[in-house]
């Protein structure tokens, strides 16, 4: 067990080190969510006057959505690193080492957690500057960060699976373009469920992105319904567990194809 944790950490460091060596890369990867926060935050400022919003500041409504969107964008990109490892022979080298194969996948997820945390904190600070009032205490901020991170891990695991099975850049990019925006718009990131057309509302209930958004947004409401937090959080957790199992299964498929 200790060997496994050590291996995960050393493998994760391999990814984390170069990222922090060039902090610009982190900033660039955050640009999109920041632009969305600024643009949407300003564009739809007055929308909160429509009844159905939980808050009178759109930026407060938008923040969980932008955070989750970041998870989605970063997560879906994780498989690119795996694909690169496969193409450069790094994956084969790892496979002949005396390490547990789970460490290879979990190390990618550790890196995602660290990257997401760094970005979430910056986004929250920006939202505060833009006037959001965030009634956090220690527990609520931990949960507020944990749910989107769980979603990020789930999406990362799926992205890694896709890389292991297709081994093609095209399919990775295709998946990114096809899924990211629709998943965002089929959620309550920008608009509460009450104001959605009914077919979108139906889809949003089975959209893991929306589970994460609802779970995180509940933390920001004046009277937190812990039931809603736990229900949505558990759904995301369950989804994440399934995704990690899928990625382990994909790893076996990949190994038998060598």
């Amino acid at each position: 067990m200790k060997k496994l944790l050590n291996d995960i950490w050393y493998l994760a460091l391999r990814r984390i080190r170069p990222t922090f060596r060039e902090p610009m890369a982190i900033i660039i990867s955050m640009l999109q969510p920041i632009i969305w926060l600024l643009l949407f935050g300003n564009l739809f400022k007055v929308i909160v006057e429509v009844p159905g919003f939980s808050t009178d500041l759109y930026i407060e409504y938008l923040l969980p959505g932008i955070i989750v969107m970041n998870s989605l964008f970063i997560g879906i990109y994780t498989g690119m690193g795996t694909l690169n490892d496969i193409n450069t022979g790094v994956m084969e080298r790892f496979l002949v080492l005396p390490i547990n194969k789970i460490a290879i996948i979990l190390s990618e997820l550790v890196q995602v957690i660290i990257l997401l945390l760094a970005q979430f904190i910056s986004i929250i600070l920006l939202a505060l500057i833009m006037g959001a009032r965030l009634p956090f205490n220690f527990y609520s901020i931990v949960i507020f960060l944990a749910i989107p991170i769980l979603l990020g891990l789930a999406v990362s695991a799926l992205s890694i699976s896709l890389a292991l099975i297709t081994r093609k850049h095209e399919s990775m990019i295709g998946a990114m373009q096809f899924f990211t925006l629709p998943l965002m718009f089929l959620s309550s990131a920008f608009m509460p469920r009450e104001l959605m057309p009914s077919w979108i509302r139906v889809i949003s209930t089975i959209n893991p992105v929306d589970w994460a958004i609802l779970g995180a947004r509940e933390i920001l409401s004046s009277e937190i319904s812990w039931f809603a937090v736990m229900a949505n959080g558990s759904l995301v957790f369950l989804f994440g567990g399934i995704c990690v199992l899928i990625s382990l299964r994909s790893f076996r498929v990949f190994q038998s194809s060598i």
Binding site: K3, N6, D7, Y10, L11, L13, R14, R17, P18, T88, G89, V90, E92, R93, F94, L95, V96, L97, P98, I99, Q255, S256, S257, I258
Partner: protein, 323 residues
């Protein structure tokens, strides 16, 4: 010292069979044994089964049937044990390009369970042996092909394995880098007593480094022996003649005429190419050319190939290795 069987052979491969999904048989009853402490060469063209053999022995892939043992341990049933005993430098470089040379070595050592000063000293030692000290802290993106290959090998031996697999170690290198690597590999075998299994399609490389070589074709060992034995056994040259056109109607005539001469041991005709296995190639060449001419066959070019592994390879597989 009692030479028992386990000590005698570092690697035992018995009747390995492996097919891929597209039903191509990569290995078809491959069998060979490697004595402890030697460099053993696997020679063959692309697709002969060299890489598949290495993949099975390094636990990356499983055979359909057959048995492979390293230091007496079964490869398929105890892969975890095997992994800490062997080092592997595969055909594709396994270097992380967003790390420095030193970071690559450190990570490799850490994953083998090495820690602290033990690891640090070993990394320094390897950087020195492979002459990579100056560039150790630079990104590997800036390395030349030769430097990358050296780093690959350094990573493969960081944990001082008893068995090392080198899959096409010098492919894509310039002649100078290749010869430096040859010295390195031969030192590894002599000084560190590592048993090395090396695949290559460069005859020169195997000729120079390997104590024992197996020529494989279509997933089988065709012949095995030291490069010298193989060349001596051949006792002769190959005369390669390119004909003007395809004389398919005269094949039997050509064979009959040429075989009259005692020094001609074998005649092979394939399309426009005529190959003769002969002794004293240069002295019987005039006779050969005359006989062919007498059948009113036109010749484009002639080549006498002296005894070489290429000739050995050709004799046993009917193919040239270089393509």
């Amino acid at each position: 010292m009692l030479p028992n069987d386990e000590k005698k052979y570092a690697i035992e491969v018995n009747n390995l069979v492996k097919s891929y999904k597209n039903s191509i048989k990569a290995l078809d009853g491959l069998t060979f044994n490697i004595r402890t402490g030697i460099i053993y060469g696997l020679l063959g063209p692309n697709g002969a089964g060299k890489s598949t053999t290495v993949k099975i022995l390094t636990t990356l892939s499983r055979p359909d049937s057959g048995e492979a043992k390293i230091l007496g341990i079964d490869v398929t049933s105890q892969p975890d044990k095997i992994r800490s005993l062997i080092g592997c430098v595969s055909q594709k470089s396994g270097i992380c390009f967003d790390s420095t040379g030193r970071e690559n070595l450190m990570l490799q050592g850490q994953l083998y369970g090495m820690r602290g000063n033990n690891l640090k000293n070993r990394v320094d030692e390897l950087l020195k042996i492979f002459n990579l000290e100056e560039s150790a802290n630079r990104s590997t993106l800036t390395y030349s092909g030769g430097m990358l290959r050296k780093l690959d090998i350094a990573m493969g031996i960081i944990h001082k394995p008893q068995i090392l697999f080198l899959d096409e170690p010098t492919t894509g290198l310039d002649p100078e880098a290749r010869s430096t690597l040859w010295t390195t590999i031969s030192n590894l075998s002599k000084k560190e007593k590592v048993t090395i299994l090396m695949t290559s399609h460069y005859l020169e490389e195997i000729d120079r480094l390997a104590e024992c070589v197996a020529i494989i074709d279509k997933g089988k060992v065709v012949i095995e022996g030291s490069p010298r034995e193989l060349k001596e056994e051949l006792e002769g040259d190959i005369i390669k003649i390119e004909l003007q056109k395809n004389y398919s109607d005269k094949i039997s005539d050509i064979e009959a005429t040429l075989k009259k001469q005692q020094n001609v041991k074998e005649v092979m005709i394939k399309n426009k190419e005529l190959k003769l296995l002969v002794s004293h190639g240069s002295s019987i060449l005039p006779y050969v050319l005359q006989s062919i001419h007498s059948l009113s066959i036109d010749i484009m070019s002639v080549e006498v190939i002296p005894p070489s592994l290429d000739a050995v390879y050709f004799q046993h597989t009917g193919k040239n290795i270089e393509n």
